[in-house]
């Protein structure tokens, strides 16, 4: 009974969500076709859809997608390696936790994207500056969550493992790592999301290629329908990536 009601609630809230999206698109359609909003500001959603199909068919997006995903992969690899390693090392010392946790939290709170001009000066207009920015931004949530995760493993688990004779390796492999994993993974998910945001965002500001770059180019050449089509495309890519990362995160959960 309860699960049936819960199911019904879930279906109902899905319907509301879908209905909301449909309403937005409908308003968009009415605004573009009936209410006389300038086509250069708001293209007809039908035209956007046609352009999207054309983009997908022609495969013209592939080069830009490769650039953006390549930057994302490199940035994420750097921030995961650095953030998890450093986070773990810090978590081993209560003194280091007291010093670095507030420091990282403070840096995490500032908009690092402000340093984009500096990154461009250092690393140029190409992918390197996006990778550096994405890595720098996503490092902090990953490092902070890793410190928290390993720093807050229940003492009782460690005591119990030691009383049974666990070696340092076994303690790490079978106790610390699984205990910390859920929080580390949610740090990775947060890091991934903001790496994606900051990379696409910085591509729109200063770049030579990539999906963000393409969107700005289209805007500058007033091809609004195509620009919107690319925005929809990027949203879809982001949604797919986030869904994949969320599934991976959920698989590591035990609590």
């Amino acid at each position: 009974m309860i699960s049936a009601r819960r199911n019904r609630d879930a279906v109902a809230s899905r319907l509301v969500q879908v209905g909301f999206l449909v309403a937005v698109i409908l308003l968009w359609y009415l605004a573009a076709t009936r209410w006389g909003v300038n086509r250069l500001l708001l293209p007809n959603p039908v035209a956007v859809f046609d352009d999207l199909i054309d983009i997908l068919r022609s495969g013209e997006y592939i080069e830009d997608l490769k650039v953006t995903l390549g930057e994302l992969a490199a940035a994420f690899a750097i921030s995961v390696t650095g953030g998890v390693t450093l986070g773990y090392v810090i978590s081993r010392s209560p003194y280091a936790i007291r010093v670095f946790e507030p420091l990282f939290a403070a840096i995490y709170a500032i908009p690092i994207v402000l340093f984009l001009p500096l990154f461009v000066l250092f690393f140029g207009l190409g992918p390197a500056s996006k990778i550096a920015l994405g890595a720098a931004i996503s490092f902090f949530p990953i490092a902070i969550n890793t410190v928290t995760a390993f720093g807050n493993v229940d003492r009782l688990f460690v005591t119990a493992a030691r009383s049974m004779g666990a070696s340092e390796y076994r303690l790490f492999r079978n106790v610390l790592l699984p205990a910390a994993l859920p929080v580390v993974l949610s740090g990775l998910r947060m890091g991934f999301t903001i790496a994606l945001l900051s990379i696409i965002g910085s591509e729109t500001l200063a770049s030579l290629a990539g999906l963000g770059h393409r969107i700005v180019q289209l805007a500058e050449s007033m091809e609004m329908a195509r620009m919107f089509a690319y925005i929809v495309f990027v949203i879809a890519i982001a949604a797919i990536l986030n869904a994949v990362v969320s599934v991976l995160e959920a698989r590591g959960r035990w609590n």
């Binding site: 009782l156 688990f157 005591t159 119990a160 493992a161 030691r162 009383s163 049974m164 004779g165 666990a166 070696s167 076994r170 079978n174 106790v175 699984p178 205990a179 994993l181 035990w254 609590n255």
Partner: protein
Amino acid sequence: MATAEAAIKVRGVSHQFGEEGEQRYVRALADTSLDVARGELMCLIGPSGCGKSTLLNIMGGLMTSSSGDAEVLGKAVAGPMPRDIAFVFQESALFPWNTVIENIELGMTFQGVAKSERATRARRALEAVGLKEFAQHYPSQLSGGMRQRAALARALSLETPILLMDEPFGALDEQTRMILGEDLSVLLARSDKTIVFVTHSLGEAVFLADRVAVFSARPGTIKQVIAVDEPHPRKPEFVTSAKFTALRNQLYGLLHDEIRKAVLQSGLRAADRGETEPA
């Protein structure tokens, strides 16, 4: 009881937390000596904060005493002794990311049991505590009582001569506790393990123990040791016998004043820190 037979020997053990003058300074144990004979079940009972759990941790090598010595099976205790001593903690301390059977096998992995032997021993331990059907469950899917059974199974599978239990049934309701106590008594009658069992419950102490060590209020030391001369496994009827009642009353008499002292102490300490007595 001949000293030569003692499985655990504690001599003049004192323990303090923090340094004198510090806010957190507490003298938990004062000059405590105790022998636990091979094969006996000794209960440690006393008011909160009297250092009975501290003594258990010192015996098991999980804490180092400020002064005095502990000896287990003729060896000085200097750290955990996984081949000789298994623990059951107040909360089950099962790893929530592993199933019951994985938890038990992992304990043996830590201890260094050969892989081929782990499965059989795990199954045997689960059967002994009546959890055979729950091998594939996660701890969160079990009731508190079942979790403690699983924790006991993990400790039994380690096949140590000594079992140290720190209020293992402390978080359970009275009825679950009674059943677990009866089952434990049956289990123990079949084994020759030496067990030290920390408890708050007078009834549990009398029901389970061969001897009960009664602690004074903090800084704790052993006030008296009472023998419970009743063979294991103990029948539920034992609880209603005159002997049980007399022993329980004797314990109550010994403990009552110490508990009052302990409550007064904690009240004074709270007042020292400017706190009011918690309700």
